[in-house]
Symmetry: C2
Subunit: 332 residues, 2 copies
């Protein structure tokens, strides 16, 4: 009998197959590989092929020269434009707004590697420090309400360039999915007077069947209502709603755990395409007692079909308990 | 300047690129083609390779024999199981339910073609009559609250078998995405005292820039806040919330218009993978004055990345006005 499971935050149901369980070898994988075709604009020496950097951590060299370890540049073809005023207008029954925003690329490391797991640990940490630094800077611009950090690794996950990089987009509004999540978490808080994410961490640490890795400050787990095979969440052990406000030791432990788990994913699933998606509180809100920041890791192993599209009901052929066990066994 | 557009039903925003507009030739397409590998369980003569049929329209032959034009069979590997009782239980802070439901496959036509647009018009109509007949039958089972009709055409769209087929899944609850849509439509009705879908049809027919085809009973249009290139909606010209309750002439016009538009998509985009997703009112509710049934056509031309995943904010490189123009020009 398949198992219907409800996500306690969003209220979405997922069908978890318990019969024809898919194990790592059962997926058609599109491996993330290095093809080294053409000149890479993200490699050292090619700094002039990107717009001028807005941030770089470097041991030598001047701006837009080699010597950097992590580098942030505006996106060459930004989804939103940074210049202009916010302007919302009606078009009959419709609403439109100017596409104001900032779209930046964090070049994770100088090495031309395709997987973040192949970057040095210092760089994995610095990607998130770079996000923090950029978030604190972009927050000064009163037009922005939210900053979405994400990573598209591999073509199947929407990645365009192979040199490992992460992106951020600053938005003039709080995005729909995050609003829904905040509302769901607030409903839970109203009922139980506790943060739903803190309760998840507490229950999962007691049960352990879905825990992949426990660090000093964060936990990596396969969520109870995983939407897809090998979905993972990184959650803080101590409550905190704004990722960019966390202390340095949380960033360091977060980076170490993330690197270990991404390396495990790369081993267990032979370098799958995946997305990283950060969920954090809106820029203009103070600390939110009902919501924890968290990072979602979404391997792109199966295609979403019309059923999930129509219903929001995902069909997941790999129980998260199995996924967590495989990944625990693949940790080094 | 990119254009941010809000969907008037769900409230979701979409970024429509107006600069680097992608035209049909700009997409990496994965063409839906016939490979004819192995024995097709959906072809006439192979009826024993599927579970026994639950419905067939036939001119000759007995059950599970050749002579049918459209045939409905239970899915061999159903996402949900039809046997058993509904049973919801708690697991700490989580909720689970038995995976009760029905999962059936509508074999669109006897011909081994991969695109619904290659099926005879009578068959395109009969697919939807078969859905209606099955919906009216499944409705008698008090465990079911909703029936999702969908089509995954091509591997990229989640399709597994190439012989054109459509699927339905009867669910023990009203799915999340539909609830959100019903709520959004009810909010609009409360404010304006009109159905938002009727208002959309009215405004689009007056403006015409996003209309692809107008039939006697239905309209095919590229929605104002299209989430992806060449997204299309088929909407009724006369209000109606339950697809299965529409009169025969609506079904006939719907099928004719759908076939014309799918053929146009196949020509303009060289047989792209796509999903068809029916949105209709829940089985147990009477006529809903704030909601119209509609069919969404979602070509799978680009990959969803981490940004859309995190935010619910889609990046669409093809303005719907351009998409509608291309498809109008590709109509025969």
């Amino acid at each position: 009998m398949p198992d219907l499971r409800k996500d306690p935050v969003t209220g979405r149901w997922v069908v978890v197959s318990t019969e024809r369980t898919k194990r790592p070898a059962d997926f058609h994988r599109s491996q993330v590989v290095i093809s080294n075709q053409g000149v890479c604009p993200f490699c050292p020496g090619n700094e002039s092929r990107t717009p001028p950097e807005v941030l770089a951590y470097r041991s030598s060299g001047g701006p837009n020269q080699p010597g950097w370890s992590t580098r942030v540049v505006p996106h060459r073809f930004p989804a939103l434009r940074v210049e202009g005023d916010l302007n919302q207008t009606a078009d009959g029954l419709y609403d439109r707004m100017n596409g104001i925003g900032a779209h930046e690329v964090i070049i994770d490391c100088p090495e031309h590697v395709a997987s973040l797991a192949d970057a040095p640990e210092d760089n994995v940490r610095d990607v998130f420090f770079a996000y923090r630094d950029r978030a604190l800077d972009l927050k000064k611009d009163p037009r922005f309400e939210y900053i979405q950090l994400f990573k598209n690794q591999g073509q199947v996950a929407g990645g365009a360039l192979e040199h490992t990089h992460t992106e951020l987009i600053a938005l003039p509004l709080v995005p729909h999915n995050l609003s829904m999540e905040l509302k769901g978490a607030a409903r839970y808080f109203k009922f139980r007077n506790r943060c739903v994410f803190c309760d998840i961490v507490c229950q999962e640490l007691a049960n352990r069947s879905r825990i992949v890795l426990e660090g000093a400050h964060v936990v990596v787990l396969a969520p109870f209502a995983s939407r897809c095979p090998f979905e993972l969440w990184v959650l803080p052990k101590r409550h905190g709603s704004h990722f960019e406000m966390q202390p340095d030791e949380v960033f360091c432990d977060f980076a170490a755990c993330l690197l270990a788990v991404l390396a495990s994913l790369d081993r267990a699933l032979e370098r799958p395409a995946y997305n990283l998606v950060l969920h954090t509180a809106p820029l203009r809100r103070g600390e939110i007692e009902s919501f924890d920041w968290h990072l979602e890791i979404v391997p792109r192993l199966s295609r979403t079909g019309g059923f999930a599209m129509g219903t929001g009901f995902y069909l997941n052929p790999t129980p998260p308990e199995e996924a967590a066990r495989f990944l625990r066994e693949s940790l080094e």
